[in-house]
Symmetry: C2
Subunit: 299 residues, 2 copies
Amino acid sequence: MILPSFIAVDWGTTRLRASLVGADGSVVATVGSDAGVQSVAAGGFPAALDAACRPWFDADPDLPVLMAGMVGSRNGWAEAPYAPCPAGAEEIAARLLALPGAGRRVSIVPGVDCRWADGAYDVMRGEETQALGTGVRDGLLALPGTHGKWIEMRDGRIARFATFVTGELFAAVSSSFVGRLAAEPHDDPAGAALAAGASKVPGGLTRALFQARARALAGDLPPAGVRPFLSRLMVEAEIAGALDLFGRPDAVHLVSGEPQRSIYRAALAERGLAVHDHDTPTVTLAGLKAIMRAAALGL
Amino acid sequence: MILPSFIAVDWGTTRLRASLVGADGSVVATVGSDAGVQSVAAGGFPAALDAACRPWFDADPDLPVLMAGMVGSRNGWAEAPYAPCPAGAEEIAARLLALPGAGRRVSIVPGVDCRWADGAYDVMRGEETQALGTGVRDGLLALPGTHGKWIEMRDGRIARFATFVTGELFAAVSSSFVGRLAAEPHDDPAGAALAAGASKVPGGLTRALFQARARALAGDLPPAGVRPFLSRLMVEAEIAGALDLFGRPDAVHLVSGEPQRSIYRAALAERGLAVHDHDTPTVTLAGLKAIMRAAALGL
């Protein structure tokens, strides 16, 4: 398999991570920094990339660069229009956004969008690369996060996907619902166990959230369990929603790190679902290599 | 019907409202103030009551006072233990909390609590009085709010009820999800219409919330519609949850004021449910009279 040497960049909201990839696909070196998209001013992206990768550029000024993530958003280096579902490495490689003014061959991986038959619309940037990097040809992927994604793969392509605002909602309600308990430690696993049960009670999330208060008042839920309760409650709502949407699979491919991995594993296992773990940096790099390979073959 | 002259007090988190009720049940006068429970320091409740009702006390130092609402909470004048469901005027009157140090006959209406068979627990303070004041003997009541209550009445008693944190959740997510749109007007009814549809799409509330962003990005949802979208989405989640919990009634008794009344009426009507309107101050006063009558008969 022919693969040009290139720089693989995962450039998200809060972090930049760049790897020098050799012609045989091996990683020669990796650098990371806090120069995420939100901390780079408009026009500052070429300099931020140079700052991260200067030694590699000095050694080979013609190294191509392939970047995925929020760097392709409206607030990033340049806005890369979404590729529509279904999208595999070929479709995405065909829509790479080249940045001609960068002084070298720099391209941005487009995000992917999805319009459901019922009108729902969805978008992602970065997760498409991770999904391709899992190597899953047919199956259901879960990528927990601020905006968690569930992605259905068919024939090695992203067939459809949905976003759940689990992390953002947890942050928004934590201050409101945990409130005066903030000074406590928040590690009592009894909270998560109680939430798993509460999520099965009819009435939906807005009822279940009040249980964090009412059951604390009743003495069912210790103060140190309120945060784990809220966290698990939202994870349960996400999983229930995703299985409702995609149907129940035999297994879920979980792309995450700790502590999400443990929380999701527990919640998925309790529903009798097998879990295959994928490490986020590993699949991101694998996805960038797959897209680079497709782009090189297409040239 | 014998009813002693008394002072009926609705003392909530943000407001105090007192009415002088005559022996024939008529309201002689009403006063209101911002001396809500959250703005009265511990120990300051007798003085706050005196300040509101002094002319009436001067005219008749022996007037009994009956108070409902958060004044009976841990942060109120004194904590009145909850009456358990099922609870009607008689059960509640039998558990009034007398305040002997007040210099006159002052009593607090207890809140009501409810333990569901599946472990869920619920509490209310003030809404029990409103529920009794509706005069509904058998039916389903909806009381929208920060902590909205749905109450099932059987034989004139509160049989069971559930809380939905619709208002608190809307406040918590508004700043997060509306964010940069805060400077816009937020009155486009297209937002509410889109939310009504989005709430029917599988995936639950954490998916539907993301639609506020994605469909704004797609151009389906104008910026001025994002807040109405979020508001209606949470109301739809509450109604769906409540009907799931209590079963579908022929009609819903809606206890509220504007703008909630219009929002809930629209959402309930779209589901083919008849709505009977009740005005909150009216049913609160009627509830206090019903409890006073039961207490007087019991003496």
